[in-house]
C-alpha cells in the first residue's frame, strides 16, 4: 500500500507529463480506450515504485513505465486472442463525396502518414514518437526503451527511411 506522502509527491511529478504519457500509450497500443487503461495502470505502478525514483527527469521515468505497461497490456491481449480494435486510419478519411477537395487532400495526407506510422514495427514507432513528438534526447530514449545509444540512432534512422515515402 503506497504512503499518502508518496501519492502527493507522485501526483506532483507525474501529472505535468500526463499528455506525454497518454500520447506514447496511444501510439503504442493504437486504441484510445486501451491507452487510457495503460496510463491509469502506469500511474498506479509509478506510485507503487515511487521509492525507486531518483528525482531526475520525471518525464523519462514516467514514459518508461508507460512503455512497459503498454507492452504488457498488448501481450496480454495477444494471449487472450482478442481481436485488435484497429479500425485503421482509413476510417478517419473524410467522405470525398461531400468534402471540398482541399480537405480531402489534407485528410489523405494525414491518413497516409498515420498508416505509415502504424505500419512501423513497435521498436521503430516508439523511437520516432519519443524523438519527433515528445522531443526526447537520444540518451533519454535509450533509457526509456532500454537499449544502447547506438541502437536508438540506428532505429531512428530506419524509422525515418520507412516514413520518407509518406512524408512527400
Amino acid at each position: 500500500m503506497p504512503e499518502p506522502d508518496n501519492a502527493a509527491a507522485f501526483a506532483r511529478i507525474a501529472l505535468p507529463h500526463l499528455d506525454a504519457a497518454y500520447n506514447l500509450a496511444r501510439w503504442l497500443v493504437r486504441d484510445p480506450v486501451l491507452a487510457e487503461d495503460v496510463v491509469q495502470d502506469a500511474m498506479l505502478r509509478g506510485l507503487t515504485y515511487m521509492h525507486a525514483f531518483r528525482g531526475d527527469n520525471p518525464k523519462g521515468w514516467l514514459l518508461r513505465i508507460v512503455r512497459t505497461t503498454a507492452y504488457d497490456r498488448l501481450s496480454e491481449r495477444k494471449r487472450a486472442a482478442e481481436v485488435p480494435l484497429d479500425t485503421g486510419p482509413a476510417a478517419a478519411l473524410p467522405d470525398p463525396a461531400d468534402t471540398p477537395e482541399a480537405a480531402v487532400a489534407d485528410g489523405q495526407r494525414r491518413a497516409a502518414l498515420d498508416r505509415a506510422l502504424a505500419a512501423l514495427p513497435d521498436e521503430l514507432r516508439e523511437v520516432i514518437v519519443l524523438r519527433e513528438l515528445e522531443e526526447m534526447p537520444y540518451r533519454e530514449i535509450a533509457r526509456i526503451t532500454e537499449v544502447p545509444l547506438g541502437t536508438v540512432m540506428s532505429r531512428l534512422w530506419r524509422a525515418r527511411l520507412a516514413l520518407r515515402g509518406a512524408a512527400q
Binding site: M1, P2, P4, D5, A7, A8, F10, A11, L15, L18, D19, A21, Y22, N23, R26, W27, P32, A35, E36, D37, V39, Q40, D41, M43, L44, L47, R109, R110, L113, D114, L117, I128, R131, E132, L133, E134, P137, Y138, M153, S154, L156, W157, R160, L161, L163, R164, A166, A167
Partner: protein, 248 residues
C-alpha cells in the same frame, strides 16, 4: 536519403538534425556538407519529415476525463479512501466522468434565479475541472483584490487566512444569482473552498448541503457571502467564523 557513398555520414547528419552532435563532429560535418549534394539533400529530407510529423501526426492529448480522474485521486491525499481509489482504475475513470456528467446535468437542470446555494455548488464543481479554478492565481490578498477592479461593479473584501490553515489560493469571476460575482479560492489540506461574495443582504445565515457539498450562507456589511466545499461542515463553519469574527 540512402546514398552508399555517404553511409558513414548518415548518422552524423541525423544526429546534427536532432541537435545531438558534438562541436568537433559538427565542424567536420559542415565541411562535408559543403561539398556533398547527397548529404545536403538528406539533411533537407530529415527536416521535411520532421515538419510533416509535427504538422500531421497528432500528439494525442490526454482526455479531460482521464486528467480529472487522476487529479481527483491525487487531491484528497490525506485520507485512506483516496489511496484505495488508485487501486480501482476503471472505477476511478467512471468517477471522473460521472463527476463531469453530474456537473453538466446540475448546470442544465438549474432554473434561472434558482437557489444560489445549489447554483454555487454547480459552479464549484465546474470550477474543480482542470484549468477552471482560478483566473488570478495568487496567495497575496493585495494582488487578488485589485484584480477584481474593473471586472465587477463592487469591490469584494479579500482576506488571507493562511496563518489559521486556510491559505488564499486565488480568485475568479463567476456567475451567480443573476449577476457576475467574485469567487475567492481557499485551500484546506486537499480540499478547495470557494467563497462567493456579492452585494446584498437578503439571506439569513444558514448551512445546507447539495450533492455532498456543504454550503454556508451569511451576510455582512451589505455583502452576501456563500462558502462551498467538500470539507466537513465543522471545519467549513470554522472558516466562516474566521471571516465573520476577524475585523477587516
Amino acid at each position: 536519403m540512402n546514398n552508399p557513398q555517404c553511409q558513414r555520414w548518415q548518422l552524423l547528419v541525423q544526429a546534427d538534425h536532432d541537435g545531438e552532435l558534438g562541436v568537433a563532429d559538427a565542424a567536420a560535418l559542415a565541411v562535408h556538407l559543403d561539398g556533398c549534394t547527397a548529404c545536403r539533400a538528406l539533411r533537407d529530407g530529415l527536416a521535411g519529415l520532421s515538419r510533416r510529423l509535427h504538422a500531421d501526426a497528432p500528439r494525442h492529448a490526454a482526455p479531460a476525463s482521464l486528467r480529472a480522474a487522476l487529479e481527483r485521486q491525487a487531491m484528497p491525499l490525506a485520507s485512506p479512501p483516496a489511496i484505495r481509489r488508485w487501486r480501482l482504475p476503471r472505477a476511478a475513470i467512471g468517477g471522473g466522468a460521472a463527476l463531469a456528467i453530474a456537473a453538466s446535468v446540475t448546470l442544465a437542470l438549474l432554473p434561472r434565479g434558482g437557489d444560489p446555494g445549489e447554483a454555487a455548488v454547480a459552479s464549484h464543481i465546474r470550477a474543480l475541472q482542470p484549468g477552471h479554478l482560478t483566473d488570478v492565481l495568487s496567495t497575496d490578498q493585495h494582488t487578488v483584490k485589485p484584480w477584481f477592479n474593473g471586472r465587477l461593479d463592487y469591490a469584494p473584501p479579500v482576506r488571507d487566512f493562511a496563518a489559521a490553515g486556510f491559505p488564499l489560493h486565488g480568485g475568479r469571476l463567476d456567475y451567480l444569482d443573476g449577476r457576475a460575482v467574485a469567487a475567492l479560492v481557499y485551500q484546506r489540506g486537499g480540499h478547495v473552498i470557494d467563497l462567493y461574495i456579492w452585494p446584498g443582504n437578503a439571506d439569513p445565515a444558514r448551512a445546507e448541503a447539495f450533492a455532498g457539498y456543504n454550503v454556508v450562507h451569511w451576510h455582512d456589511a451589505g455583502m452576501r457571502f456563500l462558502a462551498v466545499s467538500d470539507l466537513n461542515l465543522a471545519e467549513l463553519q470554522g472558516f466562516v467564523a474566521l471571516w465573520r469574527d476577524t475585523p477587516p
